[in-house]
Each structure stands twice: as C-alpha cells, then as structure tokens.
C-alpha cells in the first residue's frame, strides 16, 4: 500500500450487508461465516488485520475436546467458573470449534502427530492471523486496514445500521451503511504494554454503550501476566519452570501449579515490596533447544537484552491484561451473540465471557474457542438478517457517538488525550489498586475517574488521527469506570476479583453483575443459569 500524505480527501462512503469492526480472530471468523452464508462483508481494523490485536501476537490454544470426552471436560472446566458460567454454552463452543478449526487446513500448516493426524488445537498467532486473512480475501471479504471505527450509526427505531470512522493512511473519513454491525474490537488492556494489546482500548464497549447496550462481568478485569522486565513479552510458557527471588535473594512465589498465572498473587505481593528476579535454570535442556521454534519472539528478546536466562537471574514484571483473559465485556442476549441493541452483535473478547469462563480467566483455551464460535454465530446471524431484511438504506442512520467527537483542533487536545490515558493507567495498572482491591481504594479510584470522565465529556475533541486518540481516551475511562463500579458491587472475593478487605466468597453473591451507563453508571445482579458440579 502506498501512503498518501496529501490533504484530507473526500470521505469514503460504502454500503454492505455485514460490517465487522475489528480484525482479530473473532472478527475474521465472523467474516468468513457471513460470506459463507451469502452476505457481502466489509471488515475494518484500527491497525492491520493480521498483526493487530492479541490473537496475532500470542498463540491461542483452543479448547479442543473429542465428543465422547466433552461431558467430563465441561464438568472439570466448570469448577473454576465458580457458579457463573453456563454448561450448555461451554458445550456449544466445544462443538463449534471442533467443526470449524479443521476447515482452516488449506491456509494453516497444521503439524501432525506420530500417527499422522493433524494437531488442531494450538495455532501460533502470526501464522493463524495470516491464514485467516488469506482465507477472508479468497472468499471475497473486503478488508480496510488502518481504518478505526469512531462511532456507530443508529436508525430511528434504535437499531444499528453502520458505522463511521477514519482512514489513517488516506487521511479521510469512512462511512459504511450495513444491515447491522458486529463488534470485534477485542478486550481492553488499559495501555499496559501487554503484548499486542496497544489497539485494544475498549472502543467497542464505548460505542455499544452509546447506543444503550450493557455489559457483564466487568469486575473480572484484573488478570496479570509475567514478562521479562520492561518488555511486552507476555508469552509465558517458559515461566512454568521459573523460580522467583526478591532483592535479598529469598525465593518467593513457590510453585503451586505449572500454570504461571496461579502465582500472580505472590508475585504481585512481592512486586509491591521491590524488584523481583527470575531464574529459568530448571527448564529442561531439550525445551531450551526448542524454544526458538515454539515461541521465537521469546528468545529474541532474551538475546537482544544480552541475557542468558538459564544462567543469569533477570528482572520480571507483571503486565496487566484488563478484560483480556479476564471475562468482562458486552452482555449478549441470545445464542447468536446479539447485544441488547437490534442489529448489534459482540464477539470474542469484546463480549462477556462469563457464559463460558465465569469468574475466572478464560485464557489458556476457553477464550479462543469462544472467540471462534461467537464469531461464527454472529456472522451467520447477521448475514441472515441482512439477506432477509435488507440493508435498509432508505432509512436515515445518525452517528451515536457522545464523547470526544467534537472537531475543534485546539492544540491542547492531543495533550489532553495523552493525559487522560495516563490517568486511567494510574488507576488500572497498579496491583495495590486493581489486584488487591478494597472498598476505600475503589471509591477513591472511581472519584478520580469520574473527574476524568467529566473532563473528557466537556473538552475532548480532535480531528482525524487526533479524534481516534480522543475516542481511545474516552473508551479507556468508560471501561475503567465499569470495571471498578462492578468491583464495588461485589463485596466478596470470587475468581479473579480479589477484595483484600473481604477475602472470602459468599453463596449470596453467586450471580452475575450487569453494568452500563455513561454519565450515570448502574450495576444490577443477574442470576447465573448454570450451576457447576
């Protein structure tokens, strides 16, 4: 693609059956499914569909269980959901993933086991997204890269009929009318430097809330992942063998389980005291040798830092994941992943994952199976809606954005976005605020976030690329407020949500929390349908 630095051009106006906002794995699967159902599809991404988002940089292992083992697998996986998931949805994602993943074989070179059978469950991110992109293009999906959505378009009857955004490289506005919209903008990582999450700023959550969609599970928004100090490298497999030490050389966070995330509690505690060092001396020789071919970016960073991680101790940190590998997101109201709003669907990390992961992280298998499956269902459903009801282009559809969309070009505004983002980071990244939660601390954070929100409401403006940043800042503040407002409404500890002032769980709170609102936030309980074994 050649870049164009000329003056702002006339806007790009298009219409289609299905518009998908966000090109990670969930958006890509939705696009493929919608094309297969006979719809015309446009997918827009803030970055480049193939490299942007957490799918591209990670390597999702999908929940992958043969039919005869599913009953037992679901029973086992339901336990850590702590009463908030729904077993029928867990079965649905297992079945859909089992059916869909092998269809990627022409585009992804699946490894084979000794019996010559392909191994489908685990795909490396860049190759996975490259395969999905190639498949989309082959099936006629139109992809607009570097084209962030700014706001949804809403018809007089309240249904969603398109979106408006900005093409960064062409420096022009885009406006796309469609039968409906699928939000696939990923989770919100609060600009934490979690690998691949830079564009995941909660834009979809804000856009949806502006048309009165609601959310669920936002209190489960505080997963953290270990990484080599000062780096983004949260591909953490090798840390399953890690030994950690404090500055005095005392061992901390002794292994409880191989899953590194289980050690977060002890690591966060130690990191509040001072630096934490890691040794990988226990990694078996053969795994050291294979690491470059498993996760090539991991040894790349060790090498660049001139570090022999198997001999030398090195500093590590924890990167906040926000709602990514948490479970919060837009609430969905039916099996097609529609939100509360007609014509608007939410998939992957943009949607709540409480239905399949409950109160605990869905990372490590469930989230990827969810992203794939929710994408397929929403893609099929919106395609069908488009084909039966049409695009409804004769109706008007107006921009529904409410914050950060003023177009004055005051120079101070780029500074304002950056300052607001810094404020949100200050509330959402520190362990003593987001990991070890207390009523007092949550209230203090909410007060400061409220002030930030008011400022955004009144002063955040910008044009073009500045407007994109303004919207990111607004979405980050809004997302942070839903997280902490929900956390306050759960006066217990459950799964990811840890209240230092109330460390125990209580039967009385075995329900989900829905939340929403922009200026006036609200939270209300919703009974969880599925009760685990």
């Amino acid at each position: 693609m050649s870049i164009q630095t000329r003056e702002a051009q006339e806007r790009l106006v298009l219409h289609t059956d299905v518009l998908i906002i966000g090109g990670g794995m969930s958006g890509a699967w939705a696009a493929i499914a919608a094309r297969q159902a006979g719809a015309e599809v446009i997918l827009v991404d803030k970055g480049y569909c193939g490299t942007s988002g957490v799918t591209a940089t990670a390597g999702p292992t999908h929940w992958w269980v043969a039919p005869e083992q599913r009953e037992a697998a679901v029973d086992a996986r339901a336990v850590p959901t702590l009463g908030l998931a729904d077993k029928s949805w867990m079965h649905r994602i297992l079945a859909e993933t089992w059916q869909q993943l092998p269809t990627l074989a022409p585009w992804y070179d699946f490894a084979r086991n000794e019996q010559g059978q392909p191994i489908y469950a685990a795909l490396r991110g860049p190759e996975y997204m490259r395969a999905l992109r190639q498949r989309m293009l082959a099936s006629g999906v139109r992809i607009l890269d570097h084209s962030p959505a700014l706001e949804l378009l809403v018809r007089a009857d309240g249904s969603v009929g398109g979106a408006r955004g900005w093409q960064i490289r062409q420096q022009r506005e885009w406006l796309i009318r469609s039968a409906g919209v699928i939000l696939a903008t990923g989770g919100c990582a609060f600009k934490s430097h979690l690998l691949g999450s830079g564009n995941n700023t909660g834009d979809g959550l804000l856009m949806a809330a502006e048309v009165d969609a609601d959310l669920s599970g936002m209190e489960f928004s505080n997963a953290y992942c270990v990484a080599q100090g000062q780096t983004t490298m949260t591909r953490a497999m090798i840390y399953a063998f890690a030994t950690y030490y404090d500055a005095s050389g005392r061992e901390i966070a002794p292994v409880r389980e191989a899953d590194p995330s289980v050690r977060t509690f002890d690591l966060a505690t130690a990191l509040l005291e001072g630096p934490v060092y890691c040794s990988l001396h226990r990694v078996p020789e053969d795994i050291r040798r294979q690491l470059a071919e498993i996760s090539p970016n991991v040894p790349l960073l060790f090498n660049r830092a001139r570090l022999d991680p198997y001999q030398q101790r090195f500093e590590v940190s924890l990167r906040a994941e926000g709602t990514i590998r948490g479970t919060g997101g837009l609430r969905i109201i039916n099996e097609f992943c529609q939100t509360l709003v007609a014509g608007l669907y939410a998939i992957g990390d943009t949607a709540t994952r409480e239905l399949v992961a409950g109160a605990n992280t869905g990372g490590g298998a469930v989230n990827a199976a969810w992203a794939l499956s929710s994408g397929v269902w929403a893609g099929q459903a919106l395609a069908q809606q488009a084909l039966s009801q049409g695009r409804r282009l004769h109706e008007t559809a107006d921009g529904a954005g409410q914050v950060g969309l003023g177009s004055q070009t005051a120079a101070k505004n780029s500074g304002l976005s950056a300052r607001l983002v810094a404020q949100v980071r200050d509330e959402m990244l520190p362990f003593d605020k987001n990991f070890f939660r207390t009523e007092v601390g949550l209230n203090q954070s909410l007060d400061r976030l409220e002030t930030a929100w008011q400022e955004a409401r009144q002063q955040l403006t910008g044009q073009g690329a500045e407007q994109v940043k303004a919207r990111e800042a607004a979405a980050l503040i809004a997302s942070a407020r839903w997280c902490y407002r929900s956390a306050l409404a759960r006066p217990e500890s459950r799964g990811l949500h840890y209240r230092q002032d109330i460390p125990d769980s209580s039967e009385a709170y075995q329900y989900r929390l829905n939340t929403g609102g922009l200026d006036q936030l609200w939270v209300r309980p919703e009974p969880a349908a599925g009760v685990p074994a």
Binding site: T51, L123, A258, P296, L300
Partner: protein
C-alpha cells in the same frame, strides 16, 4: 520500541508501513522506510517478522527509546531472528512451527515441579 531502520538493508518495499498496527513508519524522501512516530510503537515485533530484508530493530525496552544505532543493531547478531525461527520466506522448511508442543511443555512442568502443599489455599 522500534529503534532503527538499517538503511543498507531496507529495500523500500513498504511492507512495514502496511503491517505496523500503530502506523509508526512513513516513506522517507530517500525512498526508504523511516520511523515517523516512534512513541506510538507497541513493541509487538510484527514489523520484524514481515521484513524480508531484516532491516528493522525493535529493542526489548517497550517503555522508552534506547538510542540504538545501525551499527549496534547489526552487531547484536539478532536481525531477522524472529522471521528466521518462525520459518518464514526463505526459512520455510528449516524451522518447523513447534508452537503446538506448548501443551506438553506445561504438562512436563507440572510433573517436574509438582504442586506444593498449600496449592489451593489462596485461590
């Protein structure tokens, strides 16, 4: 963070302009890629993976630039490492994608290290 484009390697193919999710690069007047918005770099390393001439160097430090120059980048001996061990382009067939063994690695860790006594205490 992206530090430097190695000019005698860059061919001006503009692939990095296309794939960078943060629009960090622009085409310079010399027809080569140039770093226009270093602070926007997300340290995702995707530009390095897609650069067939191994002309890009992203430093491990994602928080601030380190002032790495072309010579230091070359001398690191790590240019093109990500693409090579990913088995992309001319490396196809030489470095198989072993990502799928991750599951068994976690199993090995579990067996090797074993759960300790208070495994579930805090969780």
């Amino acid at each position: 963070m992206i530090e430097v484009v190695i000019r005698n390697r860059c061919t001006g193919c503009q692939k990095c302009l296309e794939v960078c999710p943060a629009q960090v690069f622009e085409l310079g007047v010399d027809g080569l890629s140039s770093i226009a918005r270093q602070q926007d770099c997300q340290s995702c390393y995707m530009c390095e993976l897609y650069c067939t001439s191994d002309a890009l160097y992203v430093s491990p430090n994602c928080e601030q630039p380190e002032g790495i120059d072309e010579q230091t980048a070359e001398a690191s001996g790590t240019l093109g490492y990500y693409r090579r061990y990913s088995g992309w382009d001319e490396w196809a067939g030489q470095h198989p994608n072993r990502h799928w063994v991750m599951g068994s690695v976690f199993q090995r860790a579990k067996v090797l290290l074993g759960p300790t006594k208070n495994e579930l205490e805090k969780h």
